[in-house]
């Protein structure tokens, strides 16, 4: 499946952590993705006085290639890179699990925002108006690099597996997941959640519920990430786990492969949906939304049905911004499922 991912521009497996540049210096790494050489130079100069490690890319392709070899602390992205392809790049970066805790900041051309061409939505973690004065710019970057205040949760959903009989573990899992889901968004940061999810993953993994175990581990990894993306991803993963835990896994053999295949189709469909959006081909988007709505829940991805419903509605009234946001969500959901190994 990694091959399939690679052909659709997703990031390939990273190099071992030891080779990452920022590990040597202990400095924060800022990744600038900008196709205009003048801007690129100006930005790196503006940040020059700070002790950052700067990495740069001038195209979507090179950005994805470079990201496979290091982990940035902040991404500055010109959404117009290159020649309007920045939206697609942004979609991939926003959906990337490895970057889920990394703030992604859009460098917004003020001429665009004045004309209203760029939709102001919350897909990015922040915007910096360009051109900007060097001092202001460097101040803003500094702020974005500071870790966001982490929400504190008092409630503590906790799993007690000590007395549970093996046959009841699926029910135990469902109970914990229901508890977490009901406590969202705070429950993501509850002190015991990460441990409980990890523990649960180990237990159900041993029960041959490999797919659930992988999602649970993903949820555990997300449980302390505070970006908006991490939060919505956590919500999706928990829902996905709960949906799987609610079902009897032994009904039909071979369903996991079918589910992965279904997601691969969604992944390959994305390009044509982006193309349709670019060309204002709303009937195609509407049809795709309708099909997602009908098939998502059938495959056990009920959130995908919801997204499909919203996409269908948005495409019907030619609502560009919502269609865009739904494509983001599809991409992100697909990456949740496909970033776990196939069983």
């Amino acid at each position: 499946m990694r091959n399939i991912l690679a052909t659709f521009g997703r990031r390939t497996q990273k190099h071992p952590v030891a080779s990452k540049p920022q590990q040597r210096a202990g400095r924060k790494t800022v990744f600038i993705i900008e196709d205009n050489p003048d801007s690129l130079r100006a930005i790196s100069q503006a940040l020059g006085s700070e002790a950052y490690h700067i990495e740069m890319a001038d195209s979507a392709e090179s950005a994805l290639r470079k990201l496979s070899s290091f982990q940035p602390d902040l991404i500055l992205l010109d959404p117009q890179v290159p020649a309007g392809d920045g939206t697609r790049l942004a979609r991939r970066l926003l959906a990337d699990e490895d970057l889920v805790a990394v703030p992604i900041i859009a460098l917004t051309q003020s001429s665009h925002s004045l004309s209203g061409a760029l939709p102001v939505n919350d897909r990015f973690d922040g915007h910096i108006q360009m051109p900007a004065e060097a001092r202001v710019f460097s101040g803003q970057v500094k702020t974005f690099l500071e870790p966001p205040p982490q929400p504190v949760s008092n409630q503590s959903p906790r799993l007690d597996l000590s007395h549970a009989a093996t046959s009841d573990r699926r029910r135990e899992a469902a109970a914990l997941l229901n508890l977490i889901e009901a406590g969202l968004p705070d429950s993501q940061f509850a002190p015991e959640v990460q441990n409980s999810l990890q523990l649960l993953a180990d237990v159900v993994g041993g029960l041959q519920h490999g797919e659930v175990a992988d999602y649970l581990r993903q949820a555990a990894r997300l449980s302390n990430a505070a970006t908006a993306r991490a939060r919505s991803r956590f919500r999706s993963v928990i829902r996905l786990c709960r949906e799987l835990a609610d079902r009897d896994p032994d009904v039909v053999p071979g369903l996991a492969d079918l589910r992965a295949g279904y997601m691969n189709h969604r992944s390959s469909e994305m390009e044509s949906l982006e193309h349709a959006l670019k060309n204002g081909d709303f009937p195609t988007l509407q049809r795709a939304g309708h099909n997602l709505k009908g098939t998502g829940a059938a495959y056990g991805f009920s959130e995908l049905s919801d997204i499909g419903r919203a996409l269908e509605g948005a495409a019907k009234c030619k609502d560009n911004a919502t269609v865009e946001a739904m494509l983001d969500q599809i991409e992100s959901y697909v990456s949740i499922v496909l970033s776990t190994p196939v069983h």
Binding site: V252, G261, Y262, N291, A297, A298, Y299, S305
Partner: protein, 390 residues
């Protein structure tokens, strides 16, 4: 456990992802072999159905070449005796219910097809369909169609039909009343109920969608003890009835009941000729006054030409006021050159009661009106040859 018989299913579904999942679940969901073939559109589906005998059809209603109820009707027509299971989205409940009323054996919400019971539900549907086939074969009637036609509007035809149907039903007959009105039907008001499906449901599709199944589903049993098919209730449902539709409608109706009473509009249309041609008796409802009689006399030659034989045309006289100083019933019969089935006294005071109660013939059985209705109903049941023996 004994091996269940092999199950063959045709899946008609245009969405490859949905089709793949269903095929997988059917193939792997149980220990016994299931043969699943997949067609991506209606045309291909109908071709497959012509090629081999499937026990069940899993049918998505919205296909590239057909949408909604028509899809179901086409498949139902193609395989009247096989289980048809409608696949639907969560939001198309209404459509699915309509299909079930019209003879679908089951419907499945697509988001639930991963369910372990998918296979079971298909087998149940197949079994139900088989039993239904035996059932309807046993219950087929050889009933009579009796049509009622006002000599002019306002003669009281609808009141007569509703009360006659109630009288026949209370005498233990199996009765259907059909309102063949092109526009607003008054049955519902007279019977004080709101129909959930009416004649428009049957007329919406192509003529071949009118089958024993769809018809049986559209007939609603009312408190008065008979089944009705009301005229259209909403202006957007008003549509003419074609001759083909009428022929099917009444050809089927007489197989479903002992008596099918039809309220025919007092206009001439190709569908009227079909009804009259199929009717064992066509009754002209005549207001017993000069204008009523003249209107009837003017209509008689046309009606005579439509009836299968001269004896199948008769008249009922309606007294609109208590005391009549007009021609006697037999003089009227001579002018009309047909037999008179009965004379009905005014029901004006009783109609008000009908708004909240059962038809007057049931709620006030001793009133002169009700006694006259009962007399006509007795005459209708004494036997075809002697209906008009006045």
């Amino acid at each position: 456990m004994p091996q269940e018989p092999e199950l063959s299913v045709l899946l008609i579904e245009d969405e490859p992802d949905a089709a793949r999942l269903i095929q997988h679940v059917l193939a792997k969901g149980g220990p016994n072999p299931v043969i699943v073939e997949w067609a991506g559109d209606l045309r291909t589906g109908l071709e497959r159905l012509a090629e081999r005998d499937f026990q069940a059809v899993l049918l998505d209603l919205n296909l590239p070449d057909s949408a909604g109820f028509d899809t179901f009707a086409c498949v139902r027509h193609k395989v009247p005796n096989r289980a048809v299971i409608v696949l639907t989205g969560q939001e198309d409940d209404e459509m699915a219910l309509q299909a079930v009323r019209a003879g679908a054996d089951e419907y499945l919400v697509k988001s639930e097809i991963r369910d372990r019971f998918l296979l079971q539900r298909i087998r149940y549907a197949v079994e139900r369909n088989r039993l239904k086939g035996q059932d309807s074969g046993r219950a087929l009637k050889n009933g009579k169609v009796i049509s009622f036609l006002g000599a002019k509007g306002g003669a009281g035809t609808t009141t007569l039909v509703v009360n006659l149907a109630a009288a026949l039903a209370s005498a233990g007959k199996n009765v259907i009343a059909i309102e063949l009105m092109p526009e607003f039907g008054a049955f519902a008001t007279l019977l004080n109920y709101s129909p959930s499906r009416d004649i428009a449901t049957l007329l919406r599709g192509a003529p071949e969608t009118i089958t024993r199944d769809t018809m049986a589903c559209c007939l609603e049993e009312v408190e008065a003890g008979f089944r009705v098919l009301c005229g259209p209730q909403r202006a957007e449902d008003y549509r003419p009835v074609s001759a083909d539709q009428a022929r099917l409608l009444f050809g089927i109706a007489r197989k479903l009941a002992d008596y099918t009473l039809v309220d025919v509009p007092s206009i001439f249309a190709p569908s009227i000729a079909e009804v009259v041609g199929l009717s064992a008796l066509t009754t002209v409802v005549v207001e017993r006054n000069r204008m009523g009689l003249n209107a009837a006399v003017a209509k008689m030659p046309t009606l005579q030409a439509m009836t299968p034989h001269p004896g199948s045309l008769g008249a009922v006289l309606i007294n609109k006021v208590p005391f009549i100083e007009y021609l006697t019933p037999s003089e009227c019969g001579k002018r009309l050159s047909c037999g008179i089935l009965g004379v009905i006294p005014p029901a004006a005071d009783l109609q008000a009661a009908g708004e909240t109660e059962a038809p007057p013939v049931l709620s006030r059985p001793d009133s002169p009106f009700s006694l006259a209705i009962q007399e006509v109903s007795r005459r209708l049941t004494v036997g075809s040859g002697r209906i008009l023996a006045a």
